[in-house]
């Protein structure tokens, strides 16, 4: 996808171009990581976009002037995600419904904090995003860090492995002495943390806060995770795949711009990519069988 874009617009194939092109992908990649944890246990989070919007509002509105209060609020928000995991496990509320209800809360809270878009990114965040590491542009570094951290969490970290196992067979994990409640809370806590990271990334890219502008991330993140090879039934988590999915989706948008196609068609293109990739997967799978 990147090569296609580069062939149309050779200017992007240098340090500056790559930085510009990929910086938009960082928030989506972080959101996709959050969604990946939730999908890996067989749940789905349909409110993550508004959650990212809320953290974006918190960071942009409070972080520059009241850093302590802002960090406190963010911790509370991650706590709310942990609580949501507990509610799903204890109240036997289906995750799609609980996160759907929660999305109203994130959206409302975001609008309470920032009724109209505004605020700005704190200085250190802007400096971080504008930093120029040698050879490799910052957005690429950020995405690689995300993938490495999530890869460690899902395949080395004790809880991460158990979470994945829970997606595959919750009963067996429970019988092995794991507390399903604690696992689901950990999983949603991780999702909350990466949602907050995505909120930081959105703030840095936009240099302002707009609680509702991240709403699309919910669907795009689900699409990225599925493109990345995960299954809805749970048990799979591929951080590299999810990041690649996020990159492919954000590149699709740039591609449309360079091809001079109206951005009205963005939805159809993302939908088409999804369908084609899944079709390809179905075909290869049936051949292997």
């Amino acid at each position: 996808m990147f090569i296609w874009v580069a062939s149309l617009q050779p200017d992007v194939a240098n340090y500056e171009g790559i930085t510009l092109l990929f910086s938009g992908a960082v928030p989506l990649a972080a959101t996709a990581m959050a969604e990946m944890f939730v999908i890996s246990i067989g749940d789905i989070d349909v409110g993550i976009g508004y959650f990212v919007g809320l953290t974006n509002a918190v960071v942009a509105q409070y972080m520059p002037n009241h850093p302590l209060g802002a960090w406190g609020l963010l911790v509370v928000l991650v706590g709310a995600y942990v609580g949501m995991g507990a509610l799903i496990q204890l109240g036997r509320v289906p995750s799609i419904v609980a996160t759907l209800g929660a999305s109203f809360i994130w959206m409302g809270a975001g609008l309470v904090i920032l009724p109209i878009p505004g605020g700005s990114a704190p200085g250190w965040l802007t400096r971080l995003f504008n930093s120029r590491p040698p050879f490799v542009p910052f957005p690429i570094v950020a995405i690689i860090v995300l993938v490495v951290v999530c890869g460690w969490l899902t395949s080395r970290y004790k809880y991460g492995v158990a979470i994945r196992a829970m997606g595959a067979n919750a009963q067996a994990v429970g019988r092995n002495g794991w507390s399903l409640l604690r696992l689901r809370m950990t999983c949603f806590g991780l999702a909350g943390i990466f949602g907050v990271i995505a909120g930081f990334a959105v703030t840095a890219v936009a240099d302002s806060g707009a609680p509702t502008s991240s709403a699309d991330y919910t669907l795009l993140a689900v699409a990225a995770v599925i493109l990345g090879g995960a299954e809805f039934s749970g048990g799979f988590a591929f951080p590299l795949g999810a990041a690649a999915g996020a990159l492919a989706i954000s590149q699709a948008t740039s591609l449309l711009t360079f091809l001079n196609i109206s951005s009205n068609y963005q939805g159809a293109v993302v939908g088409l990519i999804l369908m084609v990739v899944l079709l390809g997967r179905v075909l290869t799978r049936s051949r292997n069988r």
Binding site: V97, L100, G108, L219, L274, L278
Partner: protein, 323 residues
């Protein structure tokens, strides 16, 4: 399910058999709270709620049939199918509404086309319903954007006035929806089609072995959901004005209305009265928060908290009663 004692059923069993009772209890509480808060009186509140609820009810009945299929079936294309159908209907109808019926038919057909593509992806390409209907939704969104880009017209006036005709202070459209709901209830509980939908939701393999033509039922259900979303989209555009985001809140609320109404989100067991209960509950919640002079942002928070609270209580009550 607990064994039913002959002759008399306990209160708990009644609630299990009719889970929608919960939503109506919640409505009664909200209505009482509203009457205490606002001086508009009970009747005015009720009429307002009945004016707005039908649009959600129509969409939610389609969603309910899809959710009843179980096995992860859910229709996420609804919020985009609604504006698509509205723009197509308005465009085909012409500026003066000379082809109104043609427009409505075209809108509904576009919704059914979305349902057809969803069912094709799910059945033939084995794409999970969540992703497939999402992708179809993105296609529908594109169609809506493209149709809206060079379009300045509106829904024909004759249709706009049709949504305003009232009887006893309640729009005729609401009565039409009530009649339709009765039909939908009969379709769900008494017709071979409805029973097949429930059977698939309870156990798809057993349904298959019992000779139910599963793919055909799934196809019909997505066609129905697409058509109903289209009808609601066209009517809502007539009622509140044509715009690209007329459907945006309906994804959340259609699922919420179905589940608050006591239908099992995993499929297999659903009911139509609960959809009305859920839709009226959501509508009254908004009215209640407006009456309390909450800002739109606080209304959203309140709505979210209430949905989660009701579902937790109802979910626990049904699962406890089941054991």
């Amino acid at each position: 399910m607990s064994a039913r004692t002959l002759g008399h059923r306990t209160r708990k069993e009644l609630l299990v058999a009719h889970p929608w009772v919960w939503s109506f209890i919640a409505i009664a509480l909200e209505w009482a709270a509203l009457t205490a808060l606002v001086h508009r009186g009970m009747l005015g509140t009720f009429q307002a709620a009945l004016t707005l609820a039908p649009y959600l009810v129509i969409v939610s009945i389609g969603q309910m049939f899809v959710i009843t299929l179980g096995n992860g079936n859910v229709d996420l294309s609804i919020p985009y199918v609604m504006p698509m159908a509205a723009y197509i209907a308005a465009g085909v109808s012409g500026a003066n509404g000379q082809h109104l019926w043609l427009g409505i038919i075209a809108g509904v057909l576009s919704g059914m086309a979305a349902g057809l593509v969803s069912a094709f992806g799910i059945l033939v390409l084995s794409i999970p319903p969540i992703v497939c209907t999402l992708a179809v939704g993105l296609f529908a969104q594109t169609v809506a954007y493209v149709r809206a880009a060079n379009f300045t017209g509106n829904v024909p006036n004759s249709l706009v006035t049709a949504t305003l005709d009232k009887f006893l202070g309640i729009p005729l459209f609401t009565f039409a929806c009530i009649a339709f709901s009765v039909l939908a209830g009969i379709l769900l509980h008494r017709s071979p089609y409805g029973r097949a939908v429930q059977a698939i939701g309870q156990n798809i393999r057993a349904a298959n072995l019992a000779g139910i033509r599963v793919p055909r039922i799934i196809l019909l259900t997505y066609l129905l959901s697409g058509a109903l979303a289209a009808v609601s989209g066209v009517m809502l555009a007539a009622f509140s004005g044509l715009s690209l985001d007329i459907g945006s809140t309906f994804l959340l609320t259609s699922i919420a209305a179905v589940v608050i109404g006591g239908s099992v989100v995993a499929g297999g067991r659903s009911n139509v009265p609960g959809v009305w209960g859920g839709a009226l509950f959501l509508g009254l919640t908004v009215t209640l928060l407006e009456a309390a002079q909450a800002s739109i942002a606080v209304q959203d928070i309140g709505e979210g908290v209430l949905i989660i609270a009701v579902l937790t209580v109802a979910g626990r009550a049904t699962s406890v009663a089941k054991e």
